[in-house]
Structures are given as C-alpha cells and as structure tokens.
C-alpha cells in the first residue's frame, strides 16, 4: 500500500486563539483561520487543523480528554485509496467523504482518514556540514547559522506517537491491514512504523500504555536541519513556550529532537535529519531507557565569557 505519510492531524481545542498563536510561533503558516479554528501548514502543505472542541463537525476522540480527533494519511494514487477502503470494509465502516477521501477507525479507536496526497513538491537546500574529507559541502561563503530574523518554517509533517492500550493489536492493524513495516522496536514499549510509500524511519510510533493514558504522546514536523531546529526551538523558548525535553538527538531514527508542552494535551516536537530506511533494513530492538533514546542532550549557556553582567567569579566555573 502506497501510504506516503501523514497529511494532517485534526485537534479539538478549548482555546482556538491561543492554539493558533502557538502553531504560528512554532513556524506553521495559517490558512483560513478564524475564532472557530483553521489550518496551519508546513512548506509542503501538510498541516495541523484545529477546531473548537465542541465543534459538531469534529470526529469523536478515542477517549475523553484526548484532543486529537483525526489522523489523516496521504496515499499516492486512487488504487491505494480503493485498496484501503476494500480492506477496512471487511470488518468496519468506511465513510467516503465529499472530497473523495475516506474515513474509518483504527483498532485503538483513533479516527483515521486517507486522501490522495496533496503534498506540494518543493526544493530547498538541506543543512550541509563542512566536514573535512567530505564530498558534499555548503557553498563557499554560505553561512551555517540561520541569521537573526530569518524565517524558519517546518517542512513536512513527520510523525505521531500514540499511547495505545493494546500495543500488539495496534501494531497488527497498521502492519497487516495497512502495509506498515516495523523499522525498530523498544522492547516492551512498542514499534516504530514506516508506511509502504515512505523511507522515513517512522511516521507512527506506538507506545503500550494503561487505558487511562490512551491518547497521544507527541507529534512533530521535520525542519531543514539541526541548526534550523535548534534555532527555531530557542526562539520558541524565548517567546515563553515551555520546553519538556531536548534539544538532543535520538538513537533509533537519529532524529534531532526538542519537545515542548502544547495546548493539545500532548507534547509537540521539532525534529530534523531522521534516518531513512528501505525494505533491506533489519529492525533493531532496544530497551526504552533514557540512555537508549538520546544520543546526547544539549544545554544553552546564555553568557560564557567575562564581561558586563557576569558575576565577579565568572559564570562558567
């Protein structure tokens, strides 16, 4: 099945204006936004869509308190859309929406949608490093650090992480019914899953959790590289947003990460430079301790040299 990845995530929120500001400060572009909600797009058109939590047009949440109302995946062609509809109709209702997309529900109760992907192709250089001995370098006189005031925008919706009460059942649904592949696994926690039309290490990560945790741990967009991601995260913190974990770099998937609290009742991440794998990749298995999920964590120091504003004994002792 040629599912190419996430297309949009739909949330019901109690404070549309606050959530809108949050998403714009994160870097997404507002499209047709009002006091009742709207769409916030990355460069390729993948998006977060928000609405008032009591909006009757919203699909139901899997459990009370979960603000994610729908996960929409993009597919490459009509044949895939038809194949998914036929597969899911074997044991559940599949609704055809007026725009041709389909909607159903996964085995954990999350509403899922599928549509022909509307991702907009774009060409923008990714981050290159001037590694001695390398073969690809940044052009001469081009700078590695995003200049002050530069606009940093997320490029594409990356992945979503569900807390599911029965992780084996949840995995079986995505693997057996929708053609996802497990790329790596945290023992006793759950699998990283890659859909058939993507090379990304994962677009879904499933975490087995008690029923009262059922919901979403986080979601994230890809940025153009670690420098963009960290610069954007730092600007986000300076605007008053609350960091939870990071910046750092994961081991499984290699993606740079920075997690923040959000008005969506889950974390939101900024990520960059995730590994890509094809069918020849052999899944790894690791324990999900902190040591296995972060290669390193960074800490910012605002002042590091003697000078005005530094205590007499220095700030770096």
């Amino acid at each position: 099945m040629k599912i190419v990845g996430l297309e949009s995530l739909v949330f019901g929120v109690d404070d549309v204006n606050g959530a809108s500001r949050f998403l714009v400060d994160y870097g997404l572009a507002p499209v047709a936004v009002s006091d009742r909600g709207g769409r916030f797009e990355a460069i390729d058109g993948t998006a977060v869509v928000i609405a008032q939590q009591d909006d009757p047009a919203l699909p139901p949440a899997p459990v009370p308190g979960c603000r994610l109302r729908k996960t929409v995946m993009g597919v490459a062609d009509e044949a895939t859309l038809g194949a998914i509809a036929a597969e899911l109709r074997r044991d559940r209702e599949v609704r055809r929406l007026p725009d041709g997309a389909i909607e159903s529900i996964d085995d954990s109760g999350f509403v899922i949608g599928f549509q022909l992907t509307a991702r907009r192709p774009f060409v923008l250089p990714g981050e290159l490093s001037n590694a001695p001995g390398g073969v690809v370098f940044r052009p001469i006189n081009s700078l590695g650090v995003p200049p002050p005031g530069s606009v940093i925008r997320p490029r594409s919706l990356s992945h979503v992480v569900y807390f599911v009460p029965d992780v084996m059942k949840a995995e079986a649904f995505y693997v057996n019914r929708l053609g996802f592949r497990c790329t790596d696994r945290f023992t006793g926690t759950g699998p990283f899953l890659q859909p058939g039309g993507s090379l990304d290490h994962h677009t879904h990560f499933l975490i087995g959790a008690p029923p009262h945790m059922h919901g979403v741990e986080h979601f994230t967009f890809h940025f153009g590289g670690p420098s963009e991601m960290i610069t954007n995260g730092y600007r986000f913190v300076e605007k008053g947003y609350q960091a939870f974990w990071g910046p750092g770099r994961h081991i499984l998937g290699s993606n740079w990460f920075w997690y923040f609290n959000s008005p969506f009742g889950c974390h939101i991440e900024m990520d960059a430079d995730m590994d890509q794998h094809d069918a020849s990749w052999q899944p790894r298995e690791a324990t999900a301790s902190a040591d296995n999920s972060q290669a390193f964590l960074l800490k910012m120091r605002s002042k590091w040299y003697p000078g005005p504003g530094i205590p007499e004994n220095g700030d770096y002792a």
Binding site: D14, D15, G18, F22, P64, G65, C66, R67, F163, H212, M213, G215, E217, K239, G240, Y241, Q242, A243, F244, F260, N261, S262, P263, G265, C266, H267
Partner: protein
C-alpha cells in the same frame, strides 16, 4: 545588591503583589533562579494556591504550555500540558488524565501587607 530573599519575613521569598494574580489566573515563578519556573500560583474562588510546577505523572515534568499558562481556557482546572492531566485548582487533585487520583505538591504561601511570599 538586594535580592528578593532579603525582603520580607526571614525564610520567605517575595513573589509579587498578591492582587497581581486575578481570579482564575495563574502565574509561574522561579524564586531560586533555576532558569525555569519551579512553582506556580492560581487564584481560585478568591483564594491563592501555590503548587510545585511538577506533574505527579512524570515527577518533575513542567506543566504550562506557555509561561504562566497553567489553566484551561475556562480557568476551571489546572492542566498539565504534557499529557493533558487536569487538576482541581484548590486541592491539586488530579480529576482526569494519566495521574487521576494523585495530587500536586502544595507550596506554603503568606500574604503580608498585600505582598505574596513563598516559603523558601
């Protein structure tokens, strides 16, 4: 140079004027200059309540989604914006979410001449 610790009763640190926190409002503070707010205050039905900015679900997890944003939009619940746990503003009891039945840690407060102090 005077620090906040040198003002007010010994062993208490001044946070702000108590009337700066209105009904159903919240505000975070970092009296120990840790670089992140370690506690927050909410005013709920007239009274001020102080809580450690540490969710019982993952001990120590910071709770606001934005500086000072600890409450839901209606101002009726404290929310941990990590995984959505909801707490009563006056008792700190988690009434919905992953740590239902657990409580926030209360911080002792004192108001002297309209100034709000926290036990340090």
């Amino acid at each position: 140079m005077a620090t906040t610790r040198e003002v007010g009763p010994p062993g208490w640190a001044r946070l702000c004027r108590s009337d700066e926190i209105g009904e159903a409002q919240s505000r975070g503070f970092d009296p120990d200059h840790e670089g992140q707010d370690s506690l927050f205050i909410v005013r709920w039905q007239g009274d001020l309540h102080g809580w450690r900015n540490a969710c019982p679900h993952i001990d120590g997890a910071p709770m606001a989604w934005r500086r000072d944003a600890y409450l839901n939009a209606e101002g009726t619940r404290i929310v941990c914006h990590a995984h959505g746990a909801e707490f009563m503003p006056d008792t700190g009891l988690c009434v919905q979410g992953p740590c239902r039945g657990e409580r926030l840690s209360r911080i002792a407060l004192a108001v002297v001449d309209g100034e709000l102090f926290v036990k340090s």
